[in-house]
């Protein structure tokens, strides 16, 4: 099924998926999403005041993301700094936060799978491994 763009008609939240959320997570209005074009979504998302993120903001974001999960951001600060440098250089050059430990195939669908954080919980370096980690080691399982 093809993913499409949806906009909350109350608060302009944007959702990308095969179906919209029933409840808008921002304004809590029911059945508020209407389908829009990718071009409209890009305009709305690109016009916000805070459209860029610093490495520190991204680090805080992934720490919040990990806090509700069974993994955490690697406590090795030096490694994380190196990875964030690569992630942001890749974003500057190619537009998305691509993993520094894999390269693009130039297939859009495939390349979305290496945007950080990737869906690493299904990878052989993490799944079923007691002290598993994502491929680059940015995330490690809590032990």
């Amino acid at each position: 099924m093809k993913k499409r763009y949806w906009r909350c008609f109350v608060c302009n939240d944007i959702h990308y998926g095969i179906a919209p959320p029933e409840l808008c997570p921002t304004c809590k209005v029911l059945n508020a999403y209407v389908e829009i074009s990718a071009a409209e979504a890009r305009k709305i998302l690109g016009l916000g005041a805070d459209t860029t993120m610093t490495p520190d903001e991204f680090r805080a974001a992934i720490e919040r993301f990990a806090s509700a999960n069974e993994f955490r951001v690697n406590p090795d600060r030096e490694r994380v700094d190196l990875l964030l440098k690569g992630i942001f250089e890749n974003e500057g050059r190619y537009g998305l936060k691509f993993c520094p430990c894999r390269i693009r195939t130039k297939s859009w669908e495939e390349d979305l799978r290496i945007v950080c954080p990737c869906h690493f919980t299904i990878h052989e370096t993490y799944k079923g491994i007691k002290d598993g980690e994502c491929w680059c080691g940015l995330f490690v399982r809590r032990t």
Partner: protein, 129 residues
């Protein structure tokens, strides 16, 4: 002198950072030469790595991961794998021994390819004594 093997690596990849001194030690000890290609900051090297994607992806979890080693003349079945992370707990000599074993396999007959993050189970077990 022509390189024996290709090594694809990333400037901001921690695994590549860890692997590089081992590879350089291996070159010094054995005379095996690596053509080291940084991929994220060099489009031509990315294109070169992508040109091998059919064989690389088949052996590297379906993705183009680094570090990756390739014997461009000998592309074939995967090596036995264990995580190099296990090797990282060993001393440098044991790691070099395991890397050497991987590369020996990589150069043998049709076994032409591996990801640098993986080493040979048997070698690691013997290195651990």
């Amino acid at each position: 002198m022509m390189a024996d093997l290709l090594m694809f690596h990333g400037r901001e990849c921690p695994h590549c950072h860890r692997m590089m001194p081992r590879v350089e030690q291996l070159e010094a000890e054995t005379g095996v030469r690596f053509d080291k290609r940084e991929v994220w900051h060099d489009e031509a090297n990315q294109d070169l790595m992508r040109s091998y994607q059919d064989v690389l992806k088949a052996k590297c979890g379906g993705q183009l991961r680094v570090p990756a080693f390739l014997n461009p003349g000998e592309q074939g079945r995967p090596l036995r794998r264990s995580r190099l992370r296990e090797a990282q707990g060993l001393g440098p000599q044991a790691v070099v021994a395991s890397v050497r074993d991987v590369l020996r396999d990589a150069r043998r007959g049709p076994d032409g390819i591996t990801a640098g993050r993986f080493a040979d189970d048997r070698t690691l077990r013997s290195a651990q004594g």
